[in-house]
């Protein structure tokens, strides 16, 4: 089941089959799943729940409530996948540094949904071709909700961008959140990423995923918001 280049070219149907492939494969899938377990929960707790109180009106409040519940639901679904793989401690460990961002306004929240959730979408879209089929099936089910979170962020960011007094706050949020999100994709020199690609868990390097995200963000920020997009070097080693 390996390709000419030595990479794994098979598909793995379930947890038992993953264990049959070997411990390195289980470890690789487990690391990817565990990062989603932690980050979906951290995202819901750090951003979406406070946003319910920051919402400018009841409609936005209830949208934020639904989004928070969906993020929490994603956390639980990834956790279930981790349990099936036999990972006991998927929820422990540190969430990515982007979740250290201190959310202080509704404008930041909507920019965050538009840009940071887009990073999650980029990572999930890649997993639509992952060799571990339960993970592939799960992201196929969750992606529509994640894409809705991005479209919600974009729509409300566009509304704010039409208000001249809100534009400096939006620009600041873009500048801050872009720099916070760059590490989200991992280091350029990542041995984990090499292992993920060797086993077909992922297909892209961290730099390729980061570049794809930056390009999609830049298009939105410059063409739809009419704001400046900061320079992003896809090469990042901390």
């Amino acid at each position: 089941m390996t390709s000419a280049g030595g990479s794994f070219a098979g598909e793995v149907a379930d947890a038992a089959a993953a264990h049959a492939v070997g411990p390195e494969y289980v470890s690789a899938v487990g690391k990817v799943v565990a990062s989603h377990v932690r980050n979906e929960l951290a995202g819901a707790a750090a951003f979406d729940e406070p946003a319910i109180a920051m919402a400018p009106g009841p409609k936005e409040k209830w949208l934020a409530c639904r989004i928070a519940m969906e993020e929490y639901g994603h956390h639980l679904k990834f956790q279930r996948l981790a349990s099936e793989l036999g990972l006991e401690d998927a929820a422990t460990g540190r969430a990515l540094s982007v979740f250290d961002y201190g959310l202080s306004s509704w404008a930041e929240f909507v920019v965050l949904k538009a840009l940071v959730d887009l990073a999650e979408v980029v990572l999930m879209e890649e997993l639509l071709a992952t060799s571990y089929l339960p993970l592939r099936d799960l992201v196929a089910r969750l992606l529509p909700e994640e894409r809705f979170h991005v479209s919600f962020g974009k729509a409300h960011a566009r509304e704010l961008a039409a208000v001249p007094t809100a534009r400096p706050v939006l620009q600041q949020a873009v500048d801050d959140l872009v720099s916070f999100t760059v590490p989200f994709f991992g280091r350029s020199a990542s041995t984990n990423n090499e292992t993920f690609r060797r086993w077909g868990v992922k297909q892209q390097t961290n730099d390729e995923a980061r570049a794809q995200w930056a390009e999609r963000c830049q298009q939105f920020v410059e063409e739809e918001l009419g704001l400046r997009f900061p320079d992003v070097d896809p090469h990042w080693n901390g």
Partner: protein, 227 residues
């Protein structure tokens, strides 16, 4: 003592198999760790099985009754006297004429809902939350909310993932349901959320006072004529 959350047939909700190995240190912690919804739900420990009511302690019976109604099919007739239930809002009685509207009009009304009334509902949501925490029952509250949100997030899932109106309605009902669960567990008497919780589990979205009417939307039903 070690506890696992289980479904009605005793399967561990984390694995789908009979509970095995170390679990969580309390019934509430086991419920709060459940990764998937199940109804009925309970916990199993070394000493046997506890129902949700027993696991949550005082007020647990009211939470279980609320979630049992949510888990079942919508009540025939939409849950009874919709107008009467709608007027008993969580912020107190509202005497405005009740207007039943379809989802788009409900979302439009939600954008203009009375701000003072909404702030009063917020306070009614916060009161029992603080009371439970002060009484050392934060763990049971988290467990009750977790179980309720597991069930409700899927039960109230917008049919179309791109439909913003459906998301607003779903979010509002999740917000009300969370308030109702905490109020029920805290044993508020009379319970300010009871009437609106009955509407929510029956498929209604009670929006609130807006534009001179008390607006109730029917997002899970065919559009009904405006009253």
């Amino acid at each position: 003592m070690s506890w696992h959350a289980v479904d009605g047939e005793g399967r561990d909700l984390a694995t789908g198999r009979p509970p095995r190995g170390p679990g969580l240190p309390s019934p509430a912690a086991a419920l709060a760790d459940a990764p998937v919804p199940a109804w009925p739900v309970g916990v199993v420990g070394d000493a046997g099985r506890l129902s949700l009511t027993e696991a949550l302690g005082p007020g647990g019976d009211r939470v279980e009754a609320l979630l049992d109604a949510l888990a079942g099919p919508p009540a025939p007739g939409g849950g009874g006297d919709v107008e009467g239930l709608a007027r008993a809002t969580p912020a107190g009685p509202v005497g405005l004429p009740v207007r039943l509207v379809a989802l788009p009009a409900g979302v439009e009304a939600a954008a203009r809902v009375d701000a003072a009334w909404l702030a009063a509902v917020d306070r009614r949501r916060d009161g029992p939350r603080h009371a439970l925490a002060a009484a050392g029952r934060g763990e049971e509250m988290e467990a009750a909310l977790h179980v309720a949100m597991l069930m409700a997030t899927e039960r109230l899932d917008p049919a179309d993932d791109g439909d913003e109106d459906a998301h607003v309605s779903s979010g509002a009902r999740l917000w009300l349901l969370a308030g109702a669960v905490v109020s029920a567990l805290a044993g508020a008497e009379p319970d300010p959320f009871e009437a609106w919780a009955r509407l929510v589990v029956a498929g209604w979205w009670p929006v609130g006072p807006s534009g001179g009417h008390l607006v109730v939307s029917a997002p899970d039903r065919r559009a009904e004529p405006a009253g």
